[in-house]
């Protein structure tokens, strides 16, 4: 991120949302709402005094609510730009109307409580969608405690516990009592491959990150025993299978093939009851901590984003590519490309590959001033058009416009014309025109008629 932020050709708009997308490939007109962060981006030096002194503490989203942040904060240490934002919901200036400690302390005079959202309207040649994913909310699994047990955590929470910059400074301890766990159970496919929970797909990354966690855990706490309940181990990537094998053999992870039916508390222990389908028996593990390998789901607002961009999405809210095999990066709206987990669960190498792909697609698009398009566009026979303009009204792209021409005898005449670069070739105008004077090239009435006659033979 730091590298991209330093590139002259890249402008990063953080804390911003796309409001509206108009136009077409090469000429997208995008309206972006740059939300008021209440801190002047230009003036702020990133010294950090403000968030050190801010009196309000709020659970940190980045630390999966295991640590705290302030009401004025930088979301995570490596954030770009390194400029804090004020959380209006919690800041005392907004909840109580007084405080302004940060403003008083700021040497750069960067705090501006009056700042308002800014609307940026600009033209862009292409759009890359990289909106990522949401983590599956495991609380719907009542059998795993439904969020009641403090020591049942998600994989990402464990990730924060392991992180040196995490809430515990890299010490792996139980959230409930701060003790080091001795026996840890991992449960895979939480919110993945589960038709009941509406997630029939495989989240792609959990097998590998669980294996990684088992390794890290063992490295941090050599005494720990890891038990992994799995359905199948999916490790089809390069060197992935060897990694899983090492996890078992070198790092002593105990893989148990079967699902967990119930977790309950006994004393300060969690009792995990499950099946070992290979041994065909019930197993019960006394665990200090349970880590759920929660799956990947589409962003909660992905459908709204899709509607703005005019791209389709599947039943789970992942954006749909133009073709699953032949055009996995393009979308049906030319000039809009997909990358990363907004399209489907992807791991890092896949994401990097698709991001590189999208970047190349954009670069290729921009390498020429002209582009070729599908010739499926409408055309108007103005000699028979009656100017009822019904076509104009149904055109979703505003591709039909009125123009004035001068006839040979000098008189002016108004007529309709199709902007070919704007027309997408849907043909709604054609069926709306009662006298067939607007026709979709490449899908004309004549062609359809011939198809029809041939089929009807």
């Amino acid at each position: 991120m730091v590298e991209s932020s330093q590139n002259d050709n890249i402008e990063i708009l953080t804390y911003s949302e796309v409001e509206e997308v108009g136009g077409y490939i090469g000429n997208f007109e995008v309206k972006i709402r740059k939300k008021a962060r209440l801190v002047d981006l230009e003036k702020c030096t990133g010294c950090g005094t403000c968030y050190q002194k801010c009196p309000v503490k709020v659970p940190s989203e980045f630390d999966m609510e295991m640590g705290m942040r302030k009401a004025i904060y930088v979301p995570f240490p490596q954030a770009v730009p390194n400029v804090p934002v004020i959380d209006k919901e919690h800041c005392r200036m907004f909840t109580k109307g007084k405080c302004s400690i940060c403003q008083k302390l700021c040497q750069a005079d960067a705090i501006d409580y009056e700042q308002e959202d800014e609307i940026i309207e600009d033209k862009f040649g292409a759009i890359v969608v990289a909106t990522g994913y949401d983590l599956f909310d495991a609380s719907v699994y009542g059998e795993y405690g439904g969020g009641r047990f403090k020591d049942v955590i998600s994989g990402l929470q464990l990730e924060r516990l392991i992180s040196p910059s995490g809430p515990t400074g890299g010490h792996i301890i139980r959230p409930s009592d701060g003790k080091e766990p001795k026996n840890v159970v991992f449960i895979q496919c939480v919110g993945s491959r589960d038709v009941e929970k509406g997630r029939p797909y495989c989240s792609n990354v959990c097998c590998m990150y669980t294996a990684k966690h088992a390794v890290l855990l063992k490295e941090h706490l050599p005494e720990v025993q890891t038990n992994i309940f799995y359905m199948d181990i999916r490790s089809p990537g390069k060197n992935y299978e060897q990694f899983v094998q090492r996890t078992m053999e070198q790092f002593g992870a105990l893989y148990i093939r079967g699902r967990v039916s119930k977790i309950y508390q006994r004393g300060d222990k969690l009792i995990v009851k499950g099946a070992d389908t290979l041994a065909a028996c019930q197993v019960e593990v006394e665990a200090d901590m349970v880590v759920l390998a929660t799956g990947i789901t589409a962003r909660h607002d992905s459908k709204e984003v899709a509607t703005k961009l005019g791209i389709p999405y599947d039943e789970f809210g992942f954006f749909t590519e133009l073709h699953p095999k032949l055009a996995p990066i393009e979308t049906v709206t030319s000039g809009v490309f997909l990358t990363g987990a907004c399209q489907a669960p992807k791991d890092i190498p896949d994401t990097v590959a698709s991001a590189s792909g999208a970047a190349s697609k954009v670069a290729a698009l921009f390498s020429s001033d002209r582009m070729s398009m599908a010739p499926l566009v409408s055309t108007i026979d103005t000699s028979v058009c009656s100017m009822c303009k019904a076509c104009m009204e149904v055109c979703p792209y505003g591709a039909i416009q009125e123009e004035e021409i001068t006839l040979r005898d000098g008189t002016k005449k108004k007529q309709l014309t199709v902007l070919e670069s704007v027309c997408h070739g849907c043909g709604a105008c054609v069926s709306t025109c009662k006298s067939s004077c607007i026709m979709l090239r490449g899908m004309t009435d004549e062609q359809i008629f011939d198809e029809l006659m041939a089929v009807a033979q």
Partner: protein, 145 residues
Amino acid sequence: MEESNWEPKVIGFLCHWCSYAGADLSGSARLEYPHNIRIIRIPCSGRVDPMFILRALQNGVDGVLVSGCHPGDCHYQSGNFHARRKFAVINRLLKYVGIEPERVQFSWVAASEGPKMAQVIKEFVEGVRKVGPNRLFKDEKKDGE
């Protein structure tokens, strides 16, 4: 064709982005649907002119299925909404003049709904089979004489 070995012949106008892709998907998923349907691909259900339907029936096709994206999912944003208005009146008018409702049907099938496409086609063909060969526009009399 002899009544006894008559097989319905139906035409499907399927939109490129959803229903056609849905039919494609049902094919690649090895789902079976009746071979009675001949599919004509169109860009959008909004492209469908009532003329297509009537002309097909006039030429002796036993049934016409029109299918597009679910409302809100149109690749062209609003094509299927406009189409739906037209289909609603076409549907009412054809019923009113005495065309069996089984012969002309409209459906929403998304690109991911391979099984639904197969099911819709299956049910449609069965419906057409039930009402029998299309004799609506048949005439014993020769033109002119």
